[in-house]
């Protein structure tokens, strides 16, 4: 799949940098 197609698919989700950083931290804390 092309990057352009991946970005287009991802655009349906409204995600912020704060969401990403919180989720990353939380998943790593759970390990």
């Amino acid at each position: 799949m092309r990057w352009g197609d991946l970005f287009e698919r991802a655009a349906e989700y409204e995600v912020t940098v704060a969401d990403v950083t919180e989720t990353t931290e939380s998943l790593r804390d759970d390990v």
Binding site: M1, R2, W3, G4, L6, F7, R9, A10, Y13, V15, T16, V17, D19, V20, T21, T23, T24, E25, L27, R28
Partner: protein, 157 residues
Amino acid sequence: MSDRPDPTRVVADADVLAADLLVGGAAREALDHLRSHSWTTLVASEALLDDTEAVVAALADADLAAAHREKLAAWTDRVDHPDVDHSGLASAYRGGAAHLLSFDPSLTSVDAGAAIQPHVSVSVRTPDAFARLFDPESLWPEVDDGPYPGPDRDPRA
């Protein structure tokens, strides 16, 4: 691997890889520099790809996370490290990368840099700092003696 990290080798931590896909903005701008220049190398371990896939699956869906992982797996140069290591830092260290991109203030702060540098010769930057400071023309002499040819790859391919 030489002791000197390679300025053309870069690690993006899981938060930046996920933000590139799901948010855009500075993360995508930073990684577009690498997507646009085939002589740069994005480095990642399986553990870093695992972390990224888990973040994308949690915030979007498992199919998108798997497709993203497959794309990253094809793009990245793979390195191994012990499971207990931080996947971003260890990928940079094991992969001889000069740059680690992260949003995590525990890695990007001045204090963190002072703590990391004696152990790992990697510059930890936020994506927006990397996007601003990345200068492919000044790096090109590390790759070839000729004039800088400009971007050589479609960043959306």
